[in-house]
């Protein structure tokens, strides 16, 4: 264990712990922008600077491991000034278009600028607008809004192991671009970790603002990974899928199907009424009509050919409760063990 003092509090943490983690452990919040629990510290935002007694240079808390006996100050006029100036610098490029930004209301930059009471753009620089290519049509990249925290590129590399996107250019003119276009899986990990509105989803014509949508946590309907995701609902319509950092086996990640494969739910082709086939053609029917017909038929066949002449196929896409009921129905109501599902396919 390593002992240190943070803002007068004595803390003991494991060797190799960063100052940031030690501070959080001690209940002390240090502002961050690029830091993300799942990623190796990036160190791009410089918001987490702290002072260490005896050292002339401030250190970034996110990527500095603690050493024995250090005395850390996380807040001082000098640090406040550095953080404030850094945020002002971001506004050189980042437009104040929050009212029309999808992320408005849940943007870390917006929160920090508000917290530091920065009133507008202070510094100016000559800009060269560059075209930047994103590797997937499902995601929109807004180079101006991008603060180059590099979470997206780091996540693409570290979480997805792909490295489809990376920093390009130098100095002020850097942007995120597709460096390995073919590798992009459109998983949207980059959107998930983006702290601003620099990456937005390209699906759907209508979006609810973050504070207007209802987010319902549920389990993904695709493969067996069982990812936890939030369906974003506005006015009983699905406007997107998000995740919560650290939640579920997916810890906030999703694949292209989980994140963008929700359109089928509101497809025009969805069945909305029971159908009964007459003379080779389907006709809409009421539930009572349809169910009664099925019940009659099953009863008839059971009576004439025995219960084993009826077979049921349950579904790997239905819930546990429904599968339970289905097999109960076949076994207890029809009276047969002819129940199976497509586990083998």
């Amino acid at each position: 264990m390593v002992n240190l003092t943070i803002d007068g509090k004595e803390v003991a943490v494991k060797e190799g712990t960063t100052i940031l983690k030690a501070a959080r452990f001690a209940g002390i919040e240090i502002p961050t922008l690029c830091y993300h629990e799942r990623l190796n510290p990036i160190g791009s935002c410089r918001m987490c600077v702290v002072e260490i007694e005896g050292l002339s240079h401030p250190m970034t808390a996110c990527n500095t491991p603690v050493t024995e006996g250090i005395i850390v100050t996380t807040d001082s006029p000098r640090l406040q000034k550095m953080r404030m100036e850094t945020l002002k610098l971001l506004l050189v490029k980042h437009p104040l278009d929050c009212p029309v930004c999808d992320k408005g209301g849940e943007c870390t930059l917006q929160n920090l600028v508000h917290e530091f009471e920065i009133e507008g753009t202070v510094y100016l620089a000559e800009r060269e607008d560059r075209e930047s290519l994103y590797p997937t049509p499902l995601i929109h990249y807004w180079p101006d809004r991008c603060i180059m925290c590099l979470r997206c590129a780091t996540a693409c590399r570290e979480i997805k192991g792909l490295g489809a996107i990376d920093i390009d250019g130098s100095g002020f003119n850097t942007s995120i671009t597709a460096v390995n276009r073919d590798k992009c899986e459109s998983c949207g990990e980059c959107i998930q970790v983006c702290p601003t509105g620099a990456l937005t989803e390209n699906l759907g014509e209508y979006k609810g603002r973050p504070w207007m949508v209802n987010r319902v946590m549920t389990t993904c309907t695709y493969c067996g990974c069982g990812c936890q995701l939030e369906i974003n609902v506005f006015n009983n319509r699905i406007v997107g899928v998000t995740t919560k950092d650290g939640i579920g086996v997916n810890k906030g990640s999703l694949c292209v199907k989980g994140r963008f494969g929700y359109e089928f739910i509101e497809s025009e082709e969805r069945l909305s009424k029971p159908l009964i086939k007459k003379d080779g053609k389907f006709h809409e029917a009421s539930w009572d009509e349809a169910l009664s017909l099925v019940a009659e038929k099953f009863k008839g066949i059971k009576a004439s050919h025995g219960a084993d002449a009826i077979a049921g196929i349950a579904s790997a896409r239905c819930t546990n409760e429904e599968n339970y009921l289905m097999q109960k129905f076949m076994r207890a109501v029809i009276g047969t063990n002819n129940i199976d599902h497509c586990a083998r396919l």
Partner: protein, 650 residues
């Protein structure tokens, strides 16, 4: 005496403005050469520790503008403060220089410069604003005037180069912070490309480089240097394991030609590699049956497994380089014949023979008397040079001597001794190697010098030695060993291996048109172009420098390749601007071990896991295990990324 008008270098301000030149105060921190290149005077220097002005007419505001613009150009964009901050500084300064400055600009400049200096991620941003802050302090009037006058300031003539202490110390100037950063970010292939941009032998140098870079690692000031060598090895090994081969970026030359290279050692291979990248047709003549030169013949497998070197030489061959083995130039082929067939010849024959000790009987061919290079060569070929002998005595204190003793256990010798005339502190061998040899049980006899070879029936039976003591320092700065009269004693041995130095065998030049040599019996070349007095013949490596390091040979090979290409393309051969900067930086010193960094230290380097001494001394298996991926990434994270920009006004 100095001709410098003003200096803020290293935080020490010397202001000679308004003084008579004979009253100029001396600059202690740095010396600035007069010339950059021929006919190009240096008027000012602006860099990582401040700036120096030599002449009055350099406009300080304009120089700051140029410097901050360069800093912004070199900013990697990976931290907010440097990426945007230096842009705002550069743009503000540009505006002032165009005569459009505003009063509040000065306040903005100093406020932002301070934040960028303290808040940036790496040394570009940390060092970039230092000069501006100095200028704002000591040349405030110049800035105020520029803003008030509203007159555009004519742009001066500047040139700059990006460097880093480690890069500067590396003879081939590998972009060390670059490839280390790639490792930190898990981009191992990219990291390898950064290395192979200059060096085709990453796995080899990653094992046996003497790493001058680590001595200049700024991290040393905080705790310990980062393990640059082991990190290089990691990317090479990682690539080998994933079996991806190496990817090269060919940069074809306009005109290509035929080049012959003599010697497939590190220098020859590096030269061949770069020439092949440029599209030239290369034939290498190698007197041994395998590539590598001294790296293969002189370095035992436990330090550098043969397949590593073999793989890397293969990569060079895959690029189209032909290596003719067992072809000794001067014996099997004549230099003049090669010369006739080629557009250029590169001689990289190394230093393959031993320096004599000057003892009686050295040349008698006693059984058991085996010079170091020959001893290693035979062991490396898999033979025991003298199986009957069991007790070995090696003379010398360099890496060859250490290799000889450590090898001896591995071919089954029981008793292994090393005599060295100075003490352990003066030994030129790698200290890690000395420690390893000690662990393995080598007996070291310091302050001891052989005086007589004892023989019986033509066989070595022992050596008479004399005790030494250290006297006054010699020209190398080391204290000169002086014999203690009457202290002679005998060490019994049946194998005597002198390994006190290597010499160059220039037989291949015999009977050829004159190629100039030096009085040290090395080839004389132009230090920038590697060209000999014969315009078609180039040379580098040990045969030019005298016995030296692998990396220096590689650097020479690369330089030769660049100039051979220029020759073939009919371009003038002269020092490049990079060469000039190298020269300049040698004077200015990129690394200052007394610098106060002000960072938190206490993060020691990760050491490699090693085979235990008793186990390893039995075999030629590689002693050091490489870093795992996690270890490599964590070690790379220690890098401070000390890139810095040096700019001069000419």
């Amino acid at each position: 005496m100095t001709d410098i008008l003003f200096s803020s270098w290293g935080g020490v301000v010397v202001d000679n403005r308004g003084k008579e030149s004979e009253n100029y105060e001396k600059i202690e921190k740095v010396s600035l050469p007069e010339q950059f290149a021929q006919d190009e005077n240096i008027n000012a220097l602006i860099g990582w520790y401040g700036f120096l002005l030599r002449v009055q007419d350099v406009n300080i505001v304009d120089m700051c503008r140029a410097y901050l613009t360069a800093i912004q150009n070199e900013s990697c964009g990976k931290c907010f403060t440097c990426r945007i901050g230096t842009k705002v500084l550069a743009d503000t300064l540009t505006r002032i220089c165009r005569g459009k400055g505003q009063d509040e600009d000065l306040e903005v400049l100093s406020r932002l410069a301070e934040v960028i200096r303290e808040g940036s991620k790496c040394n570009i941003g940390q060092s970039g604003p230092i000069s501006l802050l100095d200028a704002l302090k000591y040349f405030a009037k110049d800035f105020e005037k520029a803003i008030q006058d509203k007159n555009p300031i004519p742009e001066g003539n500047y040139t700059y180069k990006l460097t880093a202490p480690c890069m500067d110390a590396c003879p081939i100037h590998l972009d060390i912070p670059g490839y280390v950063e790639c490792i930190k970010e898990g981009k191992f292939q990219e990291s390898l490309s950064v290395i192979t941009n200059k060096l085709p032998l990453p796995g080899t140098l990653g094992r046996v480089c003497v790493r001058p870079c680590e001595e200049h690692c700024r991290r040393t000031i905080l705790d310990e240097p980062i393990s640059i060598k082991h990190l290089k090895r990691f990317v090479a090994d990682n690539n080998l394991e994933k079996n991806k081969g190496m990817s090269f970026k060919p940069t074809p030359s306009e005109k290509t030609g035929k080049v012959a290279i003599i010697g497939a050692g590190p220098g020859g291979l590096t030269c061949a590699y770069h020439l092949a990248l440029m599209g030239h047709e290369v034939t290498v003549y190698e007197r041994h049956g395998e590539p590598g030169g001294m790296a293969a013949m002189g370095i035992p497998d436990y330090r550098l497994p043969r397949d590593i070197l073999g793989f890397e030489a293969d990569q060079v061959q895959k690029m189209g380089v032909t290596i003719r083995y067992n072809a000794t130039v001067g014996k099997d082929v004549k230099l003049s014949d090669i010369d006739k067939e080629s557009d250029a010849v590169f001689i990289a024959i190394g230093a393959q023979t031993n320096t004599e000790m000057g003892l009686k009987g050295e040349d008698k061919g006693y059984k058991g008397f085996i010079p170091g290079v020959q001893y290693l060569q035979e062991v490396n070929m898999g033979t025991d040079p003298y199986p009957e002998g069991k007790k070995v005595l090696v003379v010398g204190g360099g890496n060859v001597a250490i290799d000889c003793v450590r090898c001896s256990f591995r071919i089954g010798k029981d008793d292994v001794n090393l005599v060295y005339r100075r003490t352990k502190n003066e030994m030129p061998a790698d200290h890690v190697e000395i420690r390893d040899a000690e662990e393995e049980g080598v007996k070291f006899h310091y302050l001891t010098n052989p005086t007589r070879i004892l023989t019986k029936k033509g066989k070595v039976i022992g050596v008479e030695c004399i005790r030494m003591e250290l006297g006054e320092p010699d020209e190398s700065g080391r204290r000169r060993p002086v014999p203690v009269e009457g202290s002679e004693f005998v060490i019994e041995c049946d194998i005597l291996v002198p390994a006190i130095g290597q010499a160059i065998d220039l037989k291949l030049l015999e009977g050829e048109e004159k190629v100039e040599t030096t009085r040290r019996n090395t080839l004389a070349v132009n230090e920038f172009t590697m060209q000999t007095n014969n315009p078609k013949i180039f040379s580098a490596g040990d045969c030019v420098t005298g016995p030296s390091t692998l990396i220096r040979a590689c650097a020479g090979g690369r330089k030769a390749a660049i100039n051979i290409d220029r020759l073939i393309n009919g371009k003038e051969l002269k020092a490049t601007y990079e060469d000039c900067f190298d020269k300049l930086f040698e004077k200015v010193k990129v690394f200052d071990s007394r610098e106060n960094i002000g960072f938190l230290g206490g993060r020691k380097r990760l050491h490699l896991e090693m085979l235990p001494p008793d186990e390893r001394k039995q075999t030629f298996d590689e002693v050091e295990k490489g870093y795992s991926q996690l270890e490599a990434m964590s070690e790379a994270d220690r890098c401070l990324r000390c890139y810095r920009v040096g700019m001069i006004a000419v």
